[in-house]
Amino acid sequence: MNKEVTQLFNQWQSGDQAVQEQLSQLIYQELHRLASFYMQKENQGHTLQATAIVNEVYIQLNNQNLNVNNRQHLFALVSNMMRRYLVNHAKTKLTQKRGGDWSKVEINSEVDGQQLNLEQLLDFDEALDELAKIDERKAQIIEQRYFGGRELEEIAIAFDISESTLHRDIKMAKIWLMEKMS
């Protein structure tokens, strides 16, 4: 898989536009897998709901000038895109809720609960930026694990660390982030 992707990117970068379709498909699959990662524990029928979110990220991604060196890079990029997408979404939604767009103000307790979580997402995002300043690797690991939904092995390989080191990194990063967000 890895070889295949690198090859595709090389071909693309050397101007072979024909591979774009193939590559897009691959990115699309990645995003799809990721969105379902957060849906899998829920009811059936979520597959296609997950697809809706993927469409939006995908369109954003497609509009970018991609410069990707390998699969690891792609993972990192997808995780980061996902994070930015969700953060933007949260900001938009919160602005609306706060009256930025008066027509969409809704008042009920369910929305309040959701709002709280969206605010937490923004805190999480900020804390993650802070973490990156003092320990970049941990911040990236958290980003790929939580926003990218990556498997542990894949992350361990990407960062060339053992799984126990990875577990420890995640544990430490979580403690740090939770302290920051508290």
């Binding site: 709901q49 809706a52 939006e56 959701q114 979580n117 003092i134 939580y146």
Partner: protein, 854 residues
């Protein structure tokens, strides 16, 4: 915070994480004098135990919310149509009501926008399929008008808008009779028949896809849509079982849930399910699980409840005339439905036309072609299922009284004493009376024709039985014992336990010290129940009581029971590491039991396992072989019990280092067990866990890794919180083979914590986990001195096991390593102390990681 401060905090935090709470402060003070730093570390430690899933839930919530937001962006126009409103969001896409702008015709239409972007290849297919569907023109099919794609790349279909209500609601709202329902259904069947002539399969026939308008005309929606809207089915996005999520399992045929080829006959099945629902008010097969494997099994194995039975059970607000229940109309309709709903496509109506014809026969009082399904067929279906599940499904409550009487009668035959036989007859009579009275008084609905389930009957009877004064102690004890047994057979040992205890109490008062077979049996079953509940601390006492009573009796029945108790106690003794007593009692069991019997083969099996636990592998081999030969004779190859022995043999070969042989045996066991128990079963998973180790030893990493990931996904949730511990020992061993000792240590620590908290009496398992944890700590040269607890553990093991046991040898060796006192002399003396039956090759690997054997 600046970087350098965190660099100081982190290593201390990591170390403290692994320390018991009370040692933290001492440790920190030993590492630094900087009080501010210590404060900081302690502050951070507060966060180490906070909810682990918080990040997942924050992000999951945002994902959910963003989906809702993306839906707020309703397109204003699609092609020449203006959207009026959003009607629904289904599994396949979003549905809008729309109207044509240019007044060419003012009919309203429905627009379905597919969620997802299609590749070029699938775009082409989508267009092709759409054209075919557009050709379907039938008064009972909602017409497809047009299709295309919107700016963002999503595809849409434009369909005729049908104003009407769902077919099942229509039937109930208008109080349709059975005949009227059948006639309405025929419209739907005709639509399917028309489409089938054009070789188009609907794939998703269900009540919500059928609308009936004011004039009573039914229209089938979404013909063939399931296929064109579901390109993933063939695309394989790495999401398995996509097909499961895109259909409604209640109406899906077995071949559909299994992901096999869907044919015209799949629609026949779904039509059958639809008709069944229209008549009965519930789908023929009720799905209660959301696990794909479980759904598949339910659909493929459950026989629909007969129409007559279902109609009797119906809520009173349904209007099917009760007089009809026993009519030939219902009987024939039942046969027709069962034929349409047959699991094997080849046994259903070959075409929708034949289905319709048979319904016409029924309506015209002509004989129907569907014949009653033969008793043999039903029996074979019945046997395939679990007996108790079937009972639960609808056997009348009086059956339980009957069941218990039967047990008494069969016991009676075995009882030689006349007096006892008379008591038995009296018990039988009283039991039947007691239960019928109980049931009648307990549930007023009983008189209204509703049959209460065994579960209800049981639960209701327990309290009353405990409270009643009507029965004498002996009979009451017997009834409680029987009820306890019923609960045990239904896998509810918790509920059984207090009943058994009370039964014993009453019987002891009655016997007054005189030995009786019944009391011996009750103690034996009580002990075995404690075993099932992991109460290895209490079980031996119950077993020994049973043995002491039964030893005084010389009739065949008591001897047989005693052998059984010996065996069950042997299993417990093995698990708590009392191998000596286990060996003794299992030898008695074998001695008392004639050959060839199934019992004896099981006793050999447990005897062999007791050797395996002690790593006396030659002996384990010998007795597994005896068990296996007997089982081959009695049960045949590949039977459940035969496989148990094969599994044990594979474990022995593994320990002997014959990995190839072990793997072959284990693979065979796994394949057959999957057939027996399904893929998603704890026995199957533990079989897999050993196969993983065998693959690893044979350098077959790919297979091993696949199993490992599977097991890990079952063992942990997404935040690596432990949810299932049973295969941790094998996973730890595997990780150690892969040479990640640190992670292996984590796994053993988790296992130890889990067992100590949840199964504190699994002595042997706890000792193994503890040993491996300490061993790895030492090998990893963790700056970890022996704690008081660890020292106590060394002593516990030395006191617990005999001097010449493997356990003591290992612990002596480990202790010497910790104290830096290992020399060749010590090693040799330890090896010498070990029983000579432990073979040489094995001695070499003696002190390496040991998976816990089951």
């Amino acid at each position: 915070m600046d970087k350098s401060l965190w660099k100081k905090i982190e290593p201390l935090l990591i170390a403290c994480e692994e320390l018991p709470k009370e040692d933290v402060l001492d440790y920190l003070n030993s590492q630094t004098n900087d009080q501010e730093l210590i404060e900081r570390v302690l502050h951070y430690l507060n966060f180490s135990n906070q909810s682990n899933t918080i990040f997942s839930s924050i992000i999951g919530e945002a994902v959910q919310s963003s989906i809702e937001l993306s839906e707020e962006g309703i397109p204003k126009k699609v092609g020449p149509y203006s959207i009026i409103e959003k009607i629904a969001r289904g599994g396949m896409g979003t549905v809008y009501l729309a109207q044509r702008d240019d007044d060419i015709y003012d009919k309203k239409v429905v627009i379905k926008i597919v969620n997802g972007i299609l590749s070029e290849q699938h775009k082409y297919r989508f267009q092709q399929e759409r054209k075919i569907l557009a050709k379907l023109q039938h008064q009972n099919i909602a017409q497809i008008i047009d299709g295309g794609s919107v700016d963002s790349g999503q595809h849409y279909l434009i369909m005729e808008y049908v104003e009407g209500i769902r077919i099942d609601r229509y039937c109930d709202k208008n109080d349709l009779s059975i005949e009227q329902r059948i006639k309405l259904f025929k419209q739907v069947a005709e639509a399917a028949r028309y489409a089938h002539r054009n070789l188009i399969v609907h794939r998703d026939i269900k009540p919500s896809n059928i609308l009936v308008d004011n004039s009573g005309n039914a229209k089938l929606l979404d013909f063939g849509i399931a296929k064109i809207l579901n390109p993933e089915e063939e695309m394989d996005l790495g999401l398995t079982r996509t097909h499961m999520r895109l259909m409604t399992p209640e109406y899906a045929s077995p071949e559909q849930v299994k992901g096999e080829d869907i044919t015209l006959l799949s629609d026949v099945y779904s039509l059958g399910a639809l008709l069944y629902e229209l008549i009965v008010g519930a789908a023929p097969i009720v799905i209660t699980s959301s696990s794909p494997a479980e759904i598949e099994r339910t659909i493929c194995e459950t026989t629909p409840v007969r129409l007559r039975t279902s109609l009797k059970r119906q809520d009173s607000n349904r209007v099917i005339d009760k007089k009809l229940i026993n009519s030939s109309l219902v009987k024939d309709l039942d046969n027709i439905l069962l034929k349409a709903l047959r699991k094997e496509p080849e046994n259903r109506y070959e075409t929708v036309k034949l289905f319709i014809d048979d319904l016409d026969n029924l309506l015209n009082n002509k004989p129907v072609t569907a014949s009653p399904i033969s008793k043999l067929y039903l029996a074979s279906k019945f046997i395939k299922r679990n007996l108790w599940q079937s009972l639960l499904a609808g056997v009348s409550a009086t059956a339980i009284a009957g069941l218990i009487s039967i047990q008494y009668i069969s016991n009676k035959k075995l009882q030689q004493e006349k007096e006892e036989a008379e008591t038995q007859a009296e018990i039988s009579r009283q039991t039947a009376n007691y239960f019928s009275k109980l049931i009648e008084s307990a549930d007023p609905e009983f008189f209204q024709g509703r049959e209460i389930t065994v579960r209800e009957a049981l639960d209701q009877s327990v309290d009353e039985l405990l409270a009643t004064d009507e029965l004498n102690g002996k009979i009451k004890s017997r009834l409680l014992h029987m009820l306890g047994r019923v609960y045990r057979n239904r896998n509810n040992p918790e509920k059984s336990l207090p009943l058994q205890a009370k039964a014993i109490e009453l019987r002891e008062a009655h016997d007054d010290g005189k030995p009786s077979y019944q009391l011996g049996q009750m103690y034996g079953e009580y002990g075995d129940n404690l075993r099932q509940l992991n109460r290895y601390d209490l079980a031996p006492e119950a077993f020994e009581k049973s043995i002491a009573i039964l030893e005084q009796l010389t009739d065949d029945l008591s001897i047989k029971e005693r052998a059984n108790t010996y065996n069950n106690s042997g299993i417990v003794y093995s698990h708590i590491g009392n191998y000596q007593r286990a060996k003794e009692v299992l030898e008695y069991a074998i001695e008392l039991t004639p050959e060839p019997t199934g019992q004896k083969s099981s006793y050999y099996f447990n005897y062999a396992r007791n050797f395996l636990f002690q790593k006396k592998l030659k002996l384990a081999q010998e007795f597994y072989q005896k068990s296996y030969d007997l089982k081959l004779d009695i049960y045949g190859p590949l039977q459940r019990r035969t496989l148990n022995t094969l599994y044990g043999m594979a474990l022995t070969e593994y320990e002997l280092g014959n990995y190839k042989k072990a793997k072959n045996q284990m693979e065979l066991t796994l394949t057959e067990r999957i057939k027996m128990f399904g893929d998603d079963n704890s026995i199957v998973e533990s079989t897999r866990s050993f196969l993983m180790l065998m693959h690893a030893k044979l350098d077959e990493w790919e297979q091993a890794e696949t199993i490992f990931k599977r097991l890990r996904n079952k063992a942990f949730d997404e935040d690596f919180k432990l949810v299932e511990n049973s295969n941790l020992p094998r996973m730890a061993t595997y990780i150690e083979i892969k040479n990640d000792k640190e992670l292996a240590l984590n796994y053993w620590s988790l296992q130890l914590d889990y067992l100590q908290a949840n199964q504190p009496h699994r002595t042997r398992s706890i000792h193994i986990a503890y040993y491996n944890k300490l061993r790895l700590l030492h090998e990893l040269k963790k700056s970890h001195e022996l704690t008081v607890l660890d020292k106590a553990f060394f002593q516990t093991v030395k006191d617990y096991y005999p001097k010449d046991s493997l356990e003591v040898a290992r612990i002596n060796y480990l202790e010497a390593q910790y104290l830096n006192r290992v020399d060749s002399e010590l090693t040799n003396s330890i090896l010498k102390a070990l029983n000579s039956e432990i073979i040489d090759d094995f001695k070499k690997s003696l002190f390496a990681s040991q998976p816990e054997l089951n």
